[in-house]
Symmetry: C2
Subunit: 513 residues, 2 copies
């Protein structure tokens, strides 16, 4: 009996109710034969949740075989955002990717990108799906989408992320589905699938509040395009968070002080603060701080649900969290899987084009809070390229939320690498968020509220966020920028020494030297 | 008889039908007494259209008197965008402004800003009104708004721009109206006044197509706040365009080639191209080119109506133009005043929060086309600060349209100042539009389509836009950026020489030297 016949007969689960699609059951290696050299391939997956678990390795093996035989094999890879070592990692390691969009964080892939052996377009997450629909990258050949189950009608229930799944399913010529039994069937009902009609027929996104449900709980698409269905039973890659450290606690405290000052100014209420938050240890510390705060009925309109939001929901402090994906520790992912039925009352997973839509972000009036690599003394923010050249991850959704949020804030420790790197620099070596978009920057030394200030009025506030070791160096720079031949005072700079911090770092291993 | 009594009796026009507001008629000097030192003052006005004609000089005179007597006198000035010499100019000249937002282009004011004697916050035009409503700048004390007429009910008909008038009228404690008889009464019916309700009650902007009318033709506000009504009969400041030169013609030709290539790729139709265009001689050349092109039923969803759009309407090539203001030559302004009744069939003037709203811009699917100061080899764009420090005008609406347009494009001559300045540089000395937002750049040497390209794949295309004199210098930079210790290939840079073009310019008067 052929392996695929065997699989069709002895399927691991009863999660494929459609006879038509059940007939497409096969192994990942068999399914990988539909993915050819030069193909443009759209994967599900967003921050380590809901990415395909079997096809990446099978495609990587095809690439290795081809390369071993002296043949070319590389695909262009489109996803929701980052995935995991068993997805981006194995493919990068096998040199199976020519070009990648819109976001990547895998260390092996990062090295390939920075060595120049792989192309990478770093794109706003809310733009990524629409630009494929608009044909900016040519025809998508294959979509590989992880799902929780297939209904009798052939509708599919997404798994732990939605990402660009709808866009890839609509755009691709061929579809491969991965039905992952590890994902809880109780996720059904948590998703809210609604798409903006294609140009020129776009209409308003009918969301006024983070908790508004506007769509279906499943994805409907042309099932004639399905060439393979593969079964898996594999956990999402879930990284544990570090315990909250002292610096993170101080940053969280300063962030809460900032929120309190907004309440005092009448611009925010203790009731109903709407949050967007980037992922990481500092944001998690902020959420721990909120647990103890006076803020009630918090809502999240954000990209990913992280541990701290689950705690806020459990504590009754957060009423609803809308996102496109989970980004949970292994412990919390297990809890989510076990209690999805309860959590789907207060958690909504949407397509990333909706979770990150400028229109909805502006309408709900959220406070955006993201991390950064460095900010300069005028409030320009580098989120992506270390010393201007080495990409770390990508802009992700930070631009969608920073530009369109009610208030945009950035949180960062003042230093990295044991003090060798300052987060506050004279001139940001790459700029992802401009002085027009950055309102508040927060470090363990306080917060700088830049609203209503001319650029030169921001300088003292920004320098106040730096580690005391760096403050005299920054002050010296500003003194140079405002003296000698540097006579223009809107955004004073001394271009000859603007990158001295970065040049020192490259030469001597520290921005100080 | 007091001057104000005289005015009430012998009013120049019958444009003030409300008895209540007619009773507030007075001279500009009398009205200026309501504008005190330290006040935050919101003016009407957008690119030289619809700004107050009398109060600026009257306020400037108050400032001069106060300064002459050794007293402080300065206001914070909020507008729609730029105004004119008899508004921004006279106030700057009198040192009557402490701080200004969101845009300025007056030469005298520019000098004050760059000398450091005046503060300037350069803000996205779509953000400016909402940020005042949200209280980011404190209480607005006075609004000074030019209008065409006042109805019996006290409703006001805007003049040649709408700008932030609604926001200022709502936010200010006191209101001064300038009724300008120069403005055609036939403008009535051209405006479409609709506002997004304040947070937390925002709703979708119900515009799906550029020509959709959703509001009223007048502004309704609390007339109890009116402290003065002043009559004027003064033309808008209208600058003539230069005749289309050879370079502009070539740029326009390359822009049209780009549009043709989009048609060939199936991403654009000859029928119904939706345009946004910055103001200036090159955009005007583009519109002259469109007159002769195959494109039909063009629509504009843009900030300002300029001469070229009027020609397109007259030629039957443009069906509708939606904007917040006129920016016409004197000749075209006169034509508009005479024939407003006809033009109001195809021209709509909206609040700038709506003309520039991210939500609507993204929904209608327009092609954004703006100018620039410089772009770097990776496609980052500087729109505001010459050599990083000297502000030229401001970001205006270019960010609103660039981020949210279907396609974002920039048009520029390859050189300025007779070849001393290159528009293509190794590292942009100020960044207003990031590599994530810039899709197509066009000079007289061709167009660079950056979509789908990793940063290092963009370099050759961007260098191809530069003047041939600068190409070897740019290639030398890229060679340095990819050799020696510069080993990171995502966005290769040689930070030690990244600003050499600008440093040369400051030292030797040319970027080449």
């Amino acid at each position: 009996m052929k392996k695929s016949d065997y699989l069709r007969r002895y399927s691991m689960s009863d999660r494929i109710a459609s006879e038509k699609l059940r007939s497409k059951l096969m192994s990942a290696d068999e399914a990988a034969q539909f993915v050819n050299h030069g193909d443009k391939v759209g994967f599900s997956g967003f921050t380590g949740a809901g990415y395909p678990k079997a096809l990446p390795t099978a495609i990587a093996n095809r690439a290795k075989e081809a390369h071993g035989a002296g043949n070319d094999y590389a695909i262009d890879l489109f996803t929701g955002a980052s995935t995991a070592p068993d997805c981006d990692g194995v493919l990068a390691e096998a040199d199976a990717i020519r070009w990648r969009m819109p976001y990547a964080s895998d260390p092996i892939m990062r090295n390939k990108i920075n060595s120049g052996s792989m192309g990478y377009s770093d794109i706003h997450l809310s733009h990524s799906g629409q630009q494929v629909e608009e044909g900016f990258f040519g025809q998508l050949n294959v979509a590989v989408i992880e799902i929780t189950r297939i209904t009798e009608e052939g509708y599919i229930i997404p798994s732990s992320s939605v990402g660009n799944n709808v866009e890839w399913l609509n755009a691709a010529e061929k579809v491969i589905l991965e039905v992952n039994s590890w994902q809880s069937e109780d996720l059904e009902g948590m998703h809210d699938i609604w798409s903006v009609p294609a140009l020129p027929n776009r209409i308003a996104v009918p969301i006024n509040k983070p908790g508004d449900r506007i769509g279906k709980t499943y994805i409907e698409f042309d099932t004639d395009k399905v060439v393979a269905v593969v079964e898996t039973n594999t956990a999402d890659r879930n990284a544990p968070f570090k315990p909250v450290d002292d610096i993170s606690k101080k940053i969280a405290g300063n962030f809460l002080d900032f929120l309190e000052s907004e309440v005092a100014a009448g611009r925010l209420s203790y009731d109903g603060y709407i949050m967007q938050s980037g992922v990481g240890n500092v944001p998690n510390a902020v959420m721990a701080g909120l647990l103890e705060s006076k803020f009630e009925n918090i809502q999240a309109y954000t990209e990913v649900i992280q541990d701290g939001m689950v705690d806020l929901i459990d504590a009754g402090k957060m009423t609803v969290a809308s996102a496109t994906s989970f980004s949970l520790s292994p412990e919390y992912a297990e809890k989510m899987n076990n209690e999805a039925k309860r959590y789907r009352e207060s958690i909504i997973l949407r397509p990333q084009q909706i979770s990150n839509h400028p229109e909805v972000i502006r309408r709900v009036g959220l406070i955006a809070t993201n991390g950064l690599i460095e900010a300069d003394i005028y409030g320009n923010v580098n989120s992506t390229n270390v010393s201007g050249s080495r990409v770390m991850n990508g802009i992700g959704g930070s631009g969608d939320f920073t530009r369109n949020g009610y208030i945009s804030s950035f949180i960062t420790p003042s230093e990295a690498k044991g003090g060798a790197i300052s987060a506050i620099v004279p001139f940001a070596s790459h700029i992802d968020h401009t002085e027009h978009d950055v309102m508040v920057v927060i470090s363990e030394y306080g917060y700088a509220d830049l609203r209503g200030l001319a650029p030169r009025e921001r300088v003292a506030k920004m320098i106040g966020l730096a580690h005391p070791d760096y403050r005299p160096l920054l002050e010296e720079y500003y003194a140079r920028a405002t003296s000698g031949d540097n006579k223009y005072m809107q955004t004073p700079h001394d271009l000859a020494t603007a990158f001295d911090f970065h040049i020192n770092l490259a030469k001597n291993g520290s921005m100080k030297a």
